[in-house]
């Protein structure tokens, strides 16, 4: 009798703590999206209206570095200079210049394997970019925060925020090349872009160009969490440069090909008010559980 009572009290306590943590996480994610999309002014008083010009992107990088520091992790910058898409244009124009922001969460058990989660932070000109792609940034942040709380991690995790996705995927190209050049043992790359819209409320997530292993894992975890997984051949975001260099990479997005996608993407109406936070929560859970599972295997 006493044993049962203690057990019940304990499980109630655990449930409450978990619910509290989930609540806190959602509030933190809301704050990130609000501050990145100009809806709310960050503590340092420097409002981020858009994330497109050189100055705006620099401001965003500073902000993201602080977001990473809030997880007690060290933010790093990968600065790059890259040629234009067409070499003839190089004669006329200056090269692309930008920087990716990233951090590494080390494994707790000895491992040289890396799981990479990424999301681009830039927007089109004059767009607040709440869904495209503050949503992806908030999910990446949420996944990493949950992973930091794990007692055991069998792989290292890199969270990277890409610069200049809207400009021919320049930032992710630079990062993919860095990982290749420095011979990182990358297990897989999970890139999240535009994940804040779910009008039909089905939680569905689209996977662009997954490998068999990634497809299988996402579908299995999706079943457990009641999240439909739709496989597509969408190849227009940051997972593509990684695939091009032979990495096991996948792009995650809302239902772009199934018709339930962010309608205000790349417009000035891509605002905080249009973000579906239930979808942010379920998508965070999905990516977190997938990464956890991949680590265990």
């Amino acid at each position: 009798m006493i044993k049962t009572a203690i057990f019940l009290m304990l499980s109630l306590f655990v449930q409450q703590t978990m619910a509290q943590e989930n609540n806190e996480l959602l509030e933190a994610q809301k704050k990130v999206i609000a501050e990145l999309s100009g809806h709310q002014i960050p503590e340092d008083g420097r409002r981020i209206p858009h994330r497109s010009t050189k100055e705006e992107r620099e401001l965003t990088r500073d902000y993201l570095s602080k977001v990473i520091e809030s997880l007690d992790l060290t933010p790093q910058l990968q600065e790059y200079t890259r040629p234009n898409v067409n070499p003839i244009i190089d004669l006329l124009f200056e090269p692309y210049r930008g920087a990716n922001v990233y951090t590494t969460l080390p494994s707790t058990n000895e491992s040289d394997a890396y799981l990479v989660i990424g999301a681009h932070f830039d927007t089109e000109r004059n767009c607040p970019g709440a869904i495209d792609n503050a949503s992806g940034i908030a999910i990446g942040f949420g996944v990493l925060r949950k992973l930091t709380m794990l007692k055991e991690r069998n792989a290292n995790v890199i969270l990277v925020y890409f610069d200049q996705e809207e400009e021919d995927l320049v930032g992710s190209q630079a990062f993919a090349q860095k990982l290749k050049k420095e011979e990182f043992n990358v297990h897989s790359v999970h890139s999240m872009d535009t994940m804040g819209w779910d009008r039909d409320g089905d939680n569905a997530v689209e996977l662009g160009l997954p490998s068999d292993l990634l497809e299988k894992t996402y579908v299995e975890v999706g079943k457990e969490l009641n999240i439909p997984i739709v496989i597509t051949s969408v190849g227009s975001s940051d997972h593509v440069p990684f695939l091009d260099l032979g990495f096991n990479a996948v792009g995650l997005t809302d239902e772009l090909t199934s018709g339930d996608y962010a309608p205000y993407k790349d417009t000035e109406n891509d605002t905080y008010e249009t973000v579906n936070f239930d979808y942010i929560t379920t998508s965070t859970e999905l990516v977190y559980e997938v990464l956890k599972k991949l680590m265990e295997e």
Binding site: S52, P83, D90, L91, L92, E94, R125, Q164, E166, E167
Partner: protein, 129 residues
Amino acid sequence: MSVLKQMASSKVLYSLLGLSVLFFLVKGVTYASIGSYVPILFITIAIIILGWSFTRCNKVHRHIIRFWAILIILWASIRLVLWIVLEIDTTLTESHLREQFGIVQNIISLLMLLIGIKIIREVKQRKLN
């Protein structure tokens, strides 16, 4: 006449020529260092042809320098026209494109245009005796 003597006789012309070549040389080296070789190829060929023209008669030398000046003028004009187009058309949203036309870059375009024009004038006036 030796190359040096010829240069000394038209200091303005050859200074401007050197400046414009140097500009594209820096561009070429910058791009080569990040794996794009068209600009360095372009300026290397230009330097070879300009150098070779010193060994030819005045007429050929003049023609080649003038051709280089026309290329610079074209380069500057395209950039200035693009800048004006972007000022008028606000629907083009690519930041990278817009950032090609900051104050410093526009001043460089204008300077190159003036250098091109001045070179042509100098070639005409001095006849490069």
